[in-house]
Amino acid sequence: MSAEQLPALVVVAPLVAAPVALLARRALPAWMVATAACGFSFVAALALAVQVTSGGAVSYALGSWPPPWGIEYRVDVLSAFVLVLVSGVATVVAPFAWASASAELERERLYLFYALYCLCVAGLLGMTATGDAFNLFVFMEIASLSSYVLIALGRDRRALLSAYQYLVLGTIGATFYVIGIGLLYLMTGTLNMADMAARLSDISSTRPVLAALAFITVGVSLKLALFPLHLWLPNAYTYAPSAVTAFLAATGTKVSVYVLLRFYFGVFGTRIVLEELPMSQILLALSVVAIVTASLVALWQADLKRLLAYSSIAQIGYITLGISMASREGLTAAVVHLFNHGITKGALFLLVGGVALRAGHAGFDRLQGLARTMPLTSLGIVIAGLSLIGTPGTAGFVSKWYLVLGAIEAGRWWLAAFIVATSLIAVAYIWRFVEAAYLAPLGGATPRAGEAPAAMLVPAWILVAASVWFGFDTSYSVQGAARAAALLLQ
């Protein structure tokens, strides 16, 4: 296995694992295949990350058709960074899913769950690895279609409606995206993103190109749940099976952010997007509104899972806020927060999955005095919650720090104050959990069955530990993000 084939292998492993899991028709072999495929992808992604850091971008021509005619898989610093996040989270969630999905799903459907999980992982990895705009659409559809079904598998009957709404919105998003690609193909005659960028430089202000930019922006904004296109997200996250929520929250929207970054900086170019058009102002305004409203809505939620879903919308606002700065600090903050929020929110949803397993759901009435019956789960939620707030010594602090630095660098003092002030809302909604779990007396509805099984606690705590680790050792996360930001601004 040579380095040139790694970009394809990362994607192919889970893609092949999906039909194998389907053919197995039994839960255990399907799960083993899925876990092995995710693990393989993770190792390959790590190898790729090492490779691109030292030797520059790796390109793989599918079917030996050289780009720009054939489909090119192209992994650079940024895509390797996202590949590591996606495959890493997939590998951690897979063992969790064994205990969690077995409890939440009917037994005869379990092998379907693992097949779909593989497809979703393959789709997200493919979106990241590919250098071809239309191939990206194909993988986007693979990831989206599988996630609609995964969400619909949730045992709450509202999961079906949520999945349906997500399907309609996601399809609109994908359609907009493909319309944008169509317009770009019309103007450039190519689908290879690097080639497209070179050809666009002369005609970037023409009307179809601008229309393409608008369609792609809205289409991808739907996928990444940018306010006010976030409306599908709370229900989808709330009613999906726990493992699905954890995986999608940590990776799904993040890959869409990656696509947005790719198109803004890699295809259209900073000149047209950020200098000629009021893109950064619009993105800034939407991010600010997203952060405030979603955080406030989270404050009043009666269910911890739903609270965290709204918090995700706010956190995506911080990421797009970093993008809107379009400076080296801002983009570093956006990419590093993409990573840090991925692991933090993954940890939180995994832990909440443990609560849901014992209590049925994670409504606040079931959390009264939870620290007494599920001490490890509660402690993990508090630690990951601190990272969500941005407390020093956690990963969340590192991202907020760079975000504040970026705001100050741009001379926007009010924005720096805003970032610090909105963290206080996060303090308030995490405090609600602390108050319920630690300070309230043991409630009647609180589960008394004890801790979640180790198969669920261990993966969750790996991510909790990661969200503390990356608060101290930033050599991977910040340097990787800084390299990616430098690459984007070239």
Binding site: F176, R207, L231, I282, V297, W300, L405, A416, L424
Partner: protein, 595 residues
Amino acid sequence: MIAELPAGLILVAAGLALPLLPRAARSPVAAAAPLLAFAQLLWIGPGYVLEKDAFGFTLQLVRTDRLSLAFGYIFTIAAFLNAIYAWRVREGIEPPAALVYAGTALAAVFAGDFLTLFIYWELSAVASALIVWAGGSARAYGAGMRYMAVQLGSGMLLAAGAALRYAEAGSLAFEHVGLGSPGGALLFLAFGIKCAFPLLHNWLQDAYPEASATGTVVLSAFTTKLSIYALARGFAGTEMLIWIGAAMTAFPIFYAVIENDLRRVLAYSLNNQLGFMVVGIGLGTDMGLNGAVAHAFAHILYKALLFMSMGAVLLRAGTVKGTELGGLYKSMPLTAGLCMVGAASISAFPLFSAFVSKSMVLVSAAEQGYTFIWLVLVFASAGVFHHSGIKVPFFAFFAHDSGIRCKEAPAHMLVAMALTALLCVGIGVFPGALYAILPMPVDYVPYTASHVLAQLQLLVFSGLAFSWLKRRGIYPPEMRSVNLDADWFYRRLGLRMARALAALLQRLFDAGREASRQLGEAGAALLERLHGSEGVLARTWSTGGMALWAAILLAAYLLLYYADKVDRGFIFLLILPFLIGALGLWADSRRRDDD
């Protein structure tokens, strides 16, 4: 190995290990850890730096110089005395929280950069809030919440100020800052909140008296003195501090006079004593700074002693309300005697500690030509003598006999109080030892004939007035006897005016609080209407409604992109199908919702 570990972390480690130890070992460990930290500080001495790379910065985890070491010594001494005083408290969150609190405050003093300072600043806030909560009552819970909110708010300002400072100066090093920049102003505010500047002070009197008998002693030592250190490091010579400090010395007196809870009286006098230190820092001269540090050193000890004695009273008599106590000297003669040592120290009797420390600030103010400030400080000194020197011991141990008969304070408390009292007297008798560790060379002789005479005059005349009025029965014993205070400033103002002023301030505060409460409630109601579970921003929208947003956003983007090449017809044609589709979907979902 130990030298590699910041002194504060020795205490933090001991605190975290405490719950895991067998019960019998807990108190010895809690007392030994501060001694170990103290020995380490003596050993490393000034000029030691420990750096570590984290967050992409080089952090100075430890930086010792004469200023930080002076605070380091007294913090470890205070932590040791607290451990002795709380020897019998072995259960619950309080003992570990106290050690972690002391340790993080100690580590904050040695922080060489703002990031390290911020981390310990916040940790000490959380640990100290736990101590307030350990008070256990519903009031303690509420006060602890407010306390934590204020402390964390101060930390947020510190973080913001540090970030601004980094942008301005390109360095996070914690050196002299000054008020000249926005970053400096935020840091000033952050330190000011923790230092209980006037109008930012309420958290102190709110929270400290709600902690347990032992908890209040711990709380009184560290938080505010950490901020005194931070001000001395960052804002020495800032003139505004002189005026702030003078106001701090004067205004708590009015409240202390009418307060009945004796621990709250001490909390007010704590505020007043901080004012002297703030003035010293504001003066910024060698003697002013020395005075501030020396006074902080002495103050931690005698304030701890006073809180310890009131803690012992609370433990034995069950209350520290002035009206319910009295005559306790019969039951607790040793505590009464030790309390009076503390009272003499805070009142600056010759041969007691404040006599050799506070006067440095006063002399420095006079030398710099701040006559008005000097007068305020003299007035405040008399006020201190009144409410801490006379009122606290008098109401608790003398006055009319309340009939309470209880046991003397337990032995470990007496030992702690005796050790503290010994230090108070020791500093007063041998000031040279204290002067030797001050940051600047000391050129001051406390025991001159004029100083001793002037101070005695102040104290003796007030004592005379007190006994004369008492004998003539002009003032009935309880509340009004309080007002027979020392010097003529105070007498001329009179209790009535003090009360009126306090009542007026109280009314203004109440009105302001009420107005802001109503405004806050209205705002919260609006926020909840929008964001609450049924609010428009939190509702589950119909699918068509969601799609409509996509169409609107697309239309908005296109309009904005084409704004300079107006061809509205084209845009309209482009977005029309989507608008129709979205509207159709929306109408359809509305109809189905109605069904």
